[in-house]
Symmetry: C2
Subunit: 313 residues, 2 copies
């Protein structure tokens, strides 16, 4: 038997055939066409699944289930997509419409939740029954796994660690509030900290390494300069690590999962990110004389979207 | 059949016989004697259970299970109490020792978790499968119910909402960190805010109503003065409500339970607390155009400790 994972993104929809060992054995994609009527979008996804399955040497009958990860919120129970702004989908009965084209069990969830599930089934947290997956990119996404299942809340709006208040009356957030956690822990936050710092100290390697153009500073710019022991970069890096350590400590104080998994662009810094975090987060845990969850890097990368969707049940 | 609930506190241990309708049909207590050897403490609890059961007109055979709520952390799985500072218990095999005196199924959990369970089984959140219980007193305690069961974490150290970072580099906390949520949302926080405010405006009713002695200001002092429309009290009250609203919004963003339950001393302010919170917390929720959890007041009061312990399984 095979399972189908569908990863709906802003520019493209990735479709993968996943075997029982959680391997993607065939993959294809179609462009995101938010301009088309909903039913036509769904038909194109179903058609692409059918052809991808055939190309992989299987028949429709071999499909056990179809899972879909979306950048938005959905009811895992009813199969309704509640809100998916990129696609222009608001309260659309995805499962019902999809099954007109391909009559298989259909499961839908948020993309960060799906990635969390993927890591907990086939990735770095495989074998654990609880984990919190934190994806550190432009913003902060997260997915909570409890008792082996995604916990996205009673109204499907949970798992938004990025918008937990972290600094009362702090930096304005894109969501309209102030002091949200992602304003201090995302790649965007690291870049903001670096830009503020180089405005005071323009001789830093952070700035000279990007031709003195602050708009070209990326997360990697800061990590590279810190690795080269540029003093300003070390100070920005150290502050950023401290913010992340406080965020992880908070997650442990509230949820205490078996493992914390970090993904997203910033996690590419590898042990340069992980080692100090692992060392420092425990000071922010109330019961830090007890065994604590390890912090690990996600391993599935961009495949997590397809694998996790295929594992939805 | 009856179930036994034991509520271990700093000064006394309450023991209750609970019937199938979640009523406490008989209650007794023994003083907390942290000076006695552990085995003797446990024996006294078991003896008191046996006599209370008899006084209630039942026999030992009628006891289905014994549940114990403690101010500390315990492994629900192994029955070990990991840490209960008040009692001087560290890594003690409670279940094993208890069963030498009374051989019944024994369940142990943290007292805030137990109260959360009580409300979700027999109290204001009865009939829901997920809830977050927040007890607002000297500090902030909390208990998380997911799928009808307590979630206290993989290492039994979760559910500590009070020590989630809420104000980066903020007010020092008793735990050694800065900016913990309970520094802004507990009764202690409200009193601190009031004392700071009256230092600038000593003519406020907050201060005059306690004979101009700031050390006598309690949470109720502030609520009463705000009800009387004292301008300074209204401003402190409004700031405090805003902090609590941000805390509740954060809980919803991360966990999105079916219902939020408020208990503890501050919750006695009733609708004067609940109404503005209900009105205002949604602005701190990311997906606030969706159905949101209602905020309700706990109804079981001090009985929650016994009832919830009895319901442990």
């Amino acid at each position: 038997m095979i399972r189908i994972g569908v990863d709906v993104g802003g520019t493209g929809i990735q479709i993968g055939v996943v075997d029982e060992g959680y391997n993607i054995i065939r993959e294809s994609s179609i462009p995101t066409r938010a301009d088309l009527p909903f039913e036509e979008q769904v038909r194109q996804i179903a058609d692409c699944i059918v052809s991808t399955v055939r190309d992989a040497g299987f028949a429709e009958n071999d499909i056990e289930s179809v899972g879909v990860g979306i950048p938005g919120i959905a009811s895992a129970k009813t199969g309704e997509i509640i809100k998916c702004t990129n696609m222009g989908w608001f309260h659309v009965p995805f499962r019902e419409v999809f099954r007109r084209f391909l009559d298989k069990p259909v499961h839908i969830d948020n993309d960060a939740n799906v990635a969390a599930l993927a890591e907990s089934v086939a990735g770095v947290s495989a074998g654990t029954s609880s984990s919190v997956f934190i994806t550190i990119g432009t913003g902060i996404g997260s997915g909570i796994i409890i008792d082996g299942r995604i916990w996205s809340g009673a109204h499907h709006i949970g798992g938004e660690l990025g918008h937990v208040i972290f600094d009362l009356d702090g930096v304005p957030c894109t969501c309209g509030n102030h002091g949200c956690l992602e304003r201090y822990c995302s790649a965007t936050a690291l870049i903001r900290m670096a830009r503020e710092a180089v405005a005071e100290h323009p001789d830093s390697l952070i700035l000279t390494s990007v031709g003195n153009d602050p708009s070209r500073i990326e997360a990697k710019t800061v990590f590279d300069a810190a690795r080269a022991e540029d003093p300003l970069a070390l100070s920005v890096y150290s502050r950023y690590i401290d913010c992340l350590a406080q965020a992880i400590g908070s997650v442990v104080n509230l949820l205490d999962p078996e493992v914390i998994v970090l993904g997203g662009g910033v996690s590419k810094a590898g042990s340069f990110l992980l080692d100090p975090l692992t060392r420092e987060y425990s000071r922010y845990v109330l019961f830090n004389d007890q065994p604590l969850p390890p912090v690990r890097l996600a391993v599935l990368g961009s495949e997590a979207g397809i694998i996790g969707a295929a594992m939805l049940s």
